[in-house]
Structure formats: C-alpha cells, structure tokens
C-alpha cells in the first residue's frame, strides 16, 4: 500500500441534535484503493460520503480530499471527485447523450473532445443502442450504468459510489461492479457502499465496517477475517490428511505455531503470524513433498455477521 493518502478524515463527527450520525471517524484511504463501506442502513455511510463531498458540514473534525477541504474549496475537490448518489436521477426529458453532455460542460469540457468521450463511455457502460433515447424510458439498472458514465466523464481521481447496486437485478449488479473494477484498474481510488457483500469482496482492497456511526473495523478482508473470526491468528491449510508424528513435531517447533489440527482430508496449522513460507520449507525438508498450501480466506458475509450477531441493529 502506498503512503499517498488521497482521503483522510480526522475525528470526523456529524450530529443532528442528540443523534450522532457519524462519530469520530478516522478514515485513511490511499491512492488506487477500492474501499468498501459496509454496515446496516443508518450506520452513517451516506452521511460520511456527504461530508467527503462537502454536501453537509461536519459538526467537528476535518476532511482532506486530495489535500483540499471540500467545504472550503469545493470546486477543486469536485473537479477530481466523482459522486454517484444512492437515488441518482437524470433529466427525463433529455436523452442519455444530452444528459452526459450537460455534465461534461459543467466540467468545462466541450467540442469534439467531449463528444468522443461520451461516445466512448456510452459504449463502455453498454448503452450504445439506447443513447439517444429519453432517459425517462430507462430502467433502473440502465440509469445506474448511465450514472457510472456520468461519474467517469470528468475522468476523476476519486470516485464515490453510494449503493450503486441497490434495487437492481443480479446481472445489473454484476455489470455495475465490473465497471467499478474497470475504474480501479485505471488507478481511480474508489469508495463504494453496498449490501452485496459477496460481490463487494471481489472488488475491494479494503473495507470499513460501520455500526451506529462508528467505524468498528477496517482493513483488508483477510485481516478483518482473522481479527473477527480467528482472534488475529493465521490458519494455514495443508492438503494432507494425516501428518507423521515426526513432521508434526518439526512443524510445532516453528516459532508462532500453537496448534495443529487434522480435519477431513487436510491439516490446519494455526500460528500467530503468517508462517506459510517457513511451513513450506519444513514440510519439504521432512517429507520431500512440495505441497500447495494456502492461508485460510474468509467470506465477507461471515465477517459481517460476526460483527453484527446478537446486536439489534
């Protein structure tokens, strides 16, 4: 992870009267990351995004986007940040192309540059055949895809998507997330919130879990999984059903290893750090086998459920 932070918040807090929507948030997102915001409805994800965009003023704390404060220098921030709100709308009496043209012109674009860019984007989001139809006749999924084109038109450095997959069918969800992934490949830093945990996991390099206005955990999914489900320990899976005692004792001598369990057709070595390299060497030296081993991976859904089990959300 590079140290080039593009989004940084310090003790960011937003209160509405007695209700605190976001509490002491310290978010640090580096360039090129795809950061997922998870959490139940009303946990403060949207409010966080609004404060990042300068759409609502923080009660206390600070936000820096690309080095600028969005409340003080909105134009500098918004010229590099794209935002897709949860309920995105377009002018229904204009075609998709006209809508994108308007957005482009608000970004100071024009002429053939804008025309070409729009044509390219419309193709990217798969709306080529319908580009000259009135947006009023678009389905929800098509509008979401048009929304992504709308965000991309300014060629942002940072893109913020608030629930881009809500209310659309599985195919549409896949399309939207593929587009997000394509943006990430172009080195765009992405913040995305979604309830499609399985799909989100495939896109994100890091996630933050929100509950009642606070980010209760954040980091890459595998780290979150270890923290939440394995008390921070690593489980390394060896595809060998029964280990000879000699091998077993050699493995247990590796510093950090505290248990070796056999289940079904494999063996799980638990350690308090990632010892897979060491383990591979030991197994090779004792058995002469080159074994494929892997560090246990986690489902985001499992982690999410762990955080919210038993709590009435």
């Amino acid at each position: 992870m590079s140290d080039n932070l593009v989004i940084e918040t310090r003790d960011l807090t937003k209160a509405y009267g007695k209700f605190t929507a976001v509490k002491g948030l310290n978010l640090r997102i580096a360039e090129g990351e795809v950061f997922g915001l998870l959490g139940p409805n009303g946990a403060g994800k949207t409010t966080t995004m609004l404060m990042l965009m300068g759409f609502c003023e923080p009660t206390s704390g600070s936000v820096l986007i690309n080095g600028y404060n969005p409340a003080r220098e909105p134009v500098r921030v918004k010229s590099v940040v794209g935002y897709m709100p949860e309920r995105i709308g377009f002018y229904d009496d204009m075609t998709a192309r006209e809508n994108l043209e308007y957005t482009g012109r608000l970004n100071g674009l024009g002429g053939s540059l804008l025309k070409d860019r729009i044509a390219e984007l419309i193709e990217t989001v798969g709306l080529k055949d319908r580009a000259d139809q009135l947006v009023g006749r678009y389905s929800h999924g098509m509008k979401q895809r048009l929304g992504i084109a709308d965000v991309m038109i300014k060629q942002p450095k940072i893109a913020i998507f608030d629930e881009p997959t809500s209310g659309i069918d599985p195919e549409g969800t896949d399309q939207v997330l593929n587009l997000v992934r394509a943006m990430a490949r172009q080195k765009v830093t992405v913040i995305i919130s979604s309830h499609q945990l399985h799909q989100l996991q495939k896109v994100c390099t890091g996630v933050g879990i929100f509950s009642k206005g606070q980010m209760i955990a954040s980091g890459p999914v595998d780290k979150l999984g270890r923290d939440a489900l394995r008390k921070g320990n690593y489980n390394i899976i060896l595809p060998i059903a029964q280990l000879a005692d000699r091998v077993r004792s050699e493995i247990s001598k590796i510093p950090g290893v505290f248990s070796i369990d056999s289940i079904a057709d494999s063996t799980i070595v638990s350690a308090d750090e990632d010892i897979s390299g060491e383990l591979e060497r030991v197994v090779f030296e004792t058995t002469g086998l080159k074994v494929q081993m892997k560090v246990e991976e986690f489902e985001l859904e499992e982690i999410y459920m762990k955080y919210f089990e038993g709590s009435s959300i």
Binding site: F55, Y83, G108
Partner: protein, 315 residues
C-alpha cells in the same frame, strides 16, 4: 463562471422548450392583443381633443365591453409568470435526483440558484418586452399616431418596472421552492401569497386604517386624508400596490402619484391638472422601484442562504 453560464444556458433552453412557457406566451399575447384592440376602438372618446400622449393612452384606455386596460391585466399576469418560472426551481431538481448529481460537478453551489434566477429573469424580460413591442406595433398600426420620444421612454420604464415586479414573484417562488420539498406545496404557497395580497391586503389595510382614524359622515378633510395616507401605507406592503402606483406614475403623466380613487375622479370628472414631465414622474416612481427591488432582494437572499446552508441529500 463557467458553471453559471452553463446553467443559465440549460435553463433557458428548457424554458423555451417547455409547454409551460408556450402556454404563458399564448395567454399573455392573446390578452395583450385583445386589450390593445379594445383600447384602439375606444381611444377617440377617451382622448377627446387632447393631442398629448395619444400613443401612451393606448396602454391605459379600457372599454366598456372589456374593463381591463393593458397595465391592469399585466398586474394580474406578471405574478403568474413569475410563479410559473420559479416555483419548482430547486425542489424539482431535488425530487428528480438531479441535485446531488449537479452539485457533484465542479461548480459553486450558488451557481445553481443564481443561474436559475438569472435565466428566469431573462425569460420574464423576454416575455414582457416582446408583448409590449407587439402591442405597441399593433397599436401604431391601428391608430396611426406615432409615439413621441418621451412616450417611448415611458414605455421603456414601464417594461423595467414590470420586469422588477416579475422578479419579485419569481424570487418569492424560488424561496418557496427551497423551503418546501414538494413542488405542489411551493406552487400552492406562492399562489396563496398572491391571492392574499391581491384580495385581502386592501381589506386589512381598510380595517386597520379605519380603526386608527375612524372616518364617518362628519369627518373633516384632514381626518380623511390621515385615513387615506395610512391606508395606502399599509397597502404598500403588497408589491402589487407598489407596482400599480409605479406604472400609474409612469404611464399616466397627468395623474402623478395620486391614489386610485383620486385617479378615478380625475379620469371621469375631466379635471385635468397639468401633466408631469418624465423626470418628475421618475422621481415619483423611485420609492416604489426601490421597494420592489428590496422585496425581491429579501426573498432571494432568504432562498440563497437556506440553499447554501442546506444539506444535499439524494433521498
């Protein structure tokens, strides 16, 4: 700057393409042409032997079969135009989900509300100027008496004051479009204010002035004058009164700034004092002009402040 220009451009294009505006244009043109036609038929009787301001008379004469003169009818239609242009300025963007998308672009937040206001002002100006030009052209053709330079200046002033009056109603409607989330509510609120000022302001002014200075059969002239000045002072809260007084001072040089009752007496009694020169008329109309600008500024400032401080949520 770029954002402001783009928003004005979009808003103007929208207005010209909208059915709403076509309806307004047709309504205003039809009424304008009808009043001028009636006025041309009655102008001989109204003007009599006078040779002054014949052309201007086209705009103030009405007929027995159509008791609306052009300014009177404008004073009814301009609020409708202003409200129609402003009542959904901000809340329709919000409900359609366009607001957060627009404000995510590199423009200042006030570009949006300023652009909408300026585009609306331009539409009002276009509408009023075009109808006055059409009516003037038609009148010229009907009576064949060309306007004098002073009459043209007076008509120009009439256009300016009318645009300001329209600007007030639009800024009030824009204010409601920021305050209320639903377009139906903001439209209704604007119309409610209009009806209140139009129908009830006179009654309220009458009640208050009557309570402070009771006027009866045995009242002295001084008492009646006190009553009248208080009555008119209260009435001036209403921009409609300011507008009526303003255009009267401009279009009826003979009348100056007298009250509507005095004007009626003057009109029908044949008591014609010497007409005021344009510079004097302008001096008379100045307070009304400032009043209209101030009311417009207050409404727009309210809308502006509320909009700038507001949280932009898509839901």
């Amino acid at each position: 700057m770029n954002g402001l220009m783009e928003i004005i451009r979009k808003e103007l294009a929208d207005s010209f393409n909208s059915k709403r505006f076509v309806i307004l244009f047709v309504l205003v043109y039809m009424a304008g042409i009808a009043t001028i036609y009636i006025a041309a038929q009655n102008i001989r009787a109204a003007v009599g032997d006078s040779t002054r301001d014949i052309f201007l008379n086209l705009f103030i004469v009405s007929g027995s079969n159509m008791p609306f003169s052009f300014p009177l009818f404008m004073s009814i239609f301009i609020p409708i135009i202003g409200i129609a242009l402003g009542f959904d300025a901000v809340n329709s963007e919000r409900t359609s989900g366009n607001l957060s998308r627009l404000l995510a672009q590199p423009i200042y937040r006030d570009d949006l509300i300023n652009g909408k206001f300026l585009a609306g002002l331009a539409m009002i100006a276009i509408l009023i100027m075009s109808v006055v030009l059409i009516v003037a052209g038609l009148g010229l053709r009907l009576i064949g008496v060309p306007p004098e330079a002073e009459e043209i200046l007076r008509l120009f002033m009439f256009v300016i004051v009318s645009i300001l009056y329209g600007a007030f109603w639009m800024s009030l409607a824009v204010l409601f479009s920021v305050l209320f989330k639903k377009t139906a509510t903001s439209a209704l609120a604007s119309i409610a204010v209009w009806i209140f000022l139009f129908l009830f302001m006179g009654i309220i002014a009458n009640l208050i002035a009557g309570a402070v200075y009771p006027v009866g059969q045995d009242s002295t002239v001084a008492q009646v004058a006190d009553y009248d000045s208080l009555y008119r002072m209260i009435n001036r809260i209403s921009p409609g009164t300011l507008y009526a007084e303003g255009i009267q001072a401009i279009l009826v040089p003979i009348m100056g700034n007298s009250s509507p009752t005095m004007m009626m007496i003057g009109m029908y009694s044949g008591l014609m004092p010497a007409p005021l020169p344009l510079s004097q008329s302008l001096t008379l109309v100045w307070p009304q002009l400032v009043g209209l600008v101030a009311l417009t500024a207050i409404c727009f400032a309210g809308a502006y402040i509320k909009f700038m401080r507001e949280e932009i949520r898509s839901t």
